[in-house]
Subunit: 354 residues, 2 copies
């Protein structure tokens, strides 16, 4: 029997609830399709930090390296400053494993109401391709001067190699999708150096794909257009920060951030890719067993797909859709119901087995 | 008779159409209230740049300095790169005149449908207070290396003085508004130096205002919450870039970006403040006389208010509301009608005179 070895990092808060729930679902889907997924657990979290002063052990990345993929819950919890926890765990994995693509579907699922008037599934269905390894997220910079005179520098670093590869990925992806239209998020009117460069590379790479239509918007108006006319998008490519903002706003227009998945991809497959929901650790509801597991499960479906297992991935997505539209299955509070994490996951498993 | 002297800069594209329309309305409102507004025109634009190589003359800022306010249309047009046009005109005015506050209402107007389900005027009614003079918008940085090895640096610069003053403005404004709740836009999980500093200052300044409630969200989830629960906001304070994005997204949820105004304020009144709509020069519809003048007119109302003329400001806002809800007044295409810029402005003038 074929076996995959997956490193699972539940992390913090509701990550510890939705990861086990999703693992049950994925395990069932694998069994149905005649292969096995072995999850190896890494209990790295803000708790680890409080106990050891580190988010993960010094050889943490090496311990992950030989797995077929990483399955992550959420990182970050009150008590540890966010820049410490994230730069101690999530962000180093993305960077060390050259997961330079963060791929995020923005798709209205059946059974979920969009906050936008008159939108049905199909009306909102596009992808955000986010640069995931450089740009605005940087530890370069610092503070100088004291008291009233203090100034703080934050350097954004864009490389041509890093910019070109994400743009090419977006164009290739649009081709594969058969929806040959790429929209670039820019802000070249305000950000004097980085974004004119981004625009230049977008235009240059675009000429390699004459069959793909392009347009570009400054990120401010682009955010407004996500709300006003989401139908017009197919593939939206953005820098690390712009992609981050747009790929939370996207799920916002599809009703709940809790169902949105993401894939941190190393397209060359030199290193494991990582799959995690877009939502965070949600301290406000952690520990109650009511977190929506769908973002984590959908991330798992993207992981199966990445592993080459398209059939169980499709089965999981089908089961999600059935569960979401079945009025007899209790939905979690973010979807207006009074269901539990475990209850919804179990219902999805039952559908998979049925 | 009291007279105000206003520098008007129509700028590019539809700026050249909506500024004259708004001036007619403002002039009428002033007459009704027994004072005069003298508009002095400065024809600085991308056209100027193409002819002279400069967006404005070398002594441009000095020519504006002695006016009571600046009334700006829009800057930027195809043919001149955006970073050239904006850093040659709009951004130097904001900086030289220490207009460090960009104040932008997010308000659903009567007669305009929100793209959000079930939202009526009153449900969406808050303010974005945007830092307007430093932060991510910077000309510090550059390109180095050639070809495949090129790297581009973009420095964001946050000063304690600049950060504290915008935060204090937001808190004072919330007090004045009588809605004592300030939300901070951050991204301290990803932006390692600037945003932890921002959070620190937000917490510190917050202690000076124990009567004002505070909360903070990372800008990604905050953008999603603008869509999912706009009712919860009163005053949202953000850096230059975050404020920019949020204050376009805000008007997006109120139906059309074309009606949103902004005030670039020098609160100390050492220099003129500047009033301009949030929308841009809209090359796609420029020259057709169909641009919506409401953002420009509302910006004018904010200008009157800033000048101390609360009564005509209120009259203009009342006339806008009447015009927008009168089915016999033709609305411009962005509001789903077939009206013209001049027609709508004339209707508003007629209401003012009535
Ligand atoms: C034109 C551009 C530089 C400007 C900005 O980003 O400040 C605009 O988007 C605005 O919001 O006033
Ligand atoms: C937690 C945070 C650092 C992260 C990011 O900004 O990349 C998250 O928002 C995401 O989108 O994956």
């Amino acid at each position: 029997m074929k076996r995959y070895s997956i490193a699972s990092i539940p992390g913090d808060g509701i990550g510890r609830e939705v990861v086990p729930a999703a693992i049950d679902v994925l395990t069932t889907a694998a069994e149905r399709c005649g292969f096995a997924v072995d999850f190896r657990h890494f209990d790295w979290s803000c708790q680890t930090y409080l106990e050891t002063g580190k988010m993960m052990p010094d050889d943490g990345l090496d311990r992950l390296r030989d797995h077929d993929a990483v399955f992550l819950g959420a990182v970050g919890y009150p008590g540890v400053p966010d820049h410490i926890s994230l730069w101690g765990l999530l962000l180093p994995i993305r960077r060390e494993f050259e997961q330079y693509v963060n791929l995020r579907p923005v798709r209205l699922l059946p059974g979920i109401a969009s906050p936008l008037r008159d939108k049905a599934p199909g009306d909102i269905n596009f992808w955000v391709v986010r640069e995931n390894s450089e740009g605005e997220y940087s530890q370069v910079g610092g503070r100088t001067g004291t008291g009233e005179d203090e100034i703080v520098l934050q350097q954004a670093i864009f490389t041509r190699r890093g910019t070109d590869r994400i743009l090419r990925y977006a164009f290739d992806f649009a081709r594969r999708l058969g929806r040959k239209h790429v929209t670039s998020a820019t802000k070249s009117n305000g950000l004097y150096h980085s974004m004119p460069f981004w625009d230049e590379r977008f235009a240059a790479i675009g000429t390699e794909y004459p069959d793909v239509a392009t347009d570009q918007y400054h990120v401010d108006i682009l955010a407004a257009r996500f709300v006003m006319s989401p139908e017009r998008f197919d593939v939206v490519v953005g820098s690390n920060l712009f992609g981050d903002i747009l790929s939370d706003l996207g799920p916002g227009i599809t009703g709940t951030i809790a169902v949105a998945p993401s894939a941190n991809l190393n397209p060359e497959r030199r290193f494991p890719s990582m799959f995690e929901p877009v939502h965070g650790s949600a301290p406000d509801i952690a520990g109650q067993g009511i977190a929506n597991p769908i973002g984590q499960i959908w991330s798992g479906a993207m992981m199966l797909e990445h592993l080459g297992e398209a059939e169980p991935a499709a089965l999981v997505m089908r089961a999600l859709a059935i569960a979401l539209t079945d009025p007899d299955i209790a939905k979690p509070p973010d979807l207006g119901g009074n269901g539990t994490t475990a209850g919804l996951a179990e219902a999805i498993r039952t559908i998979l087995l049925g």
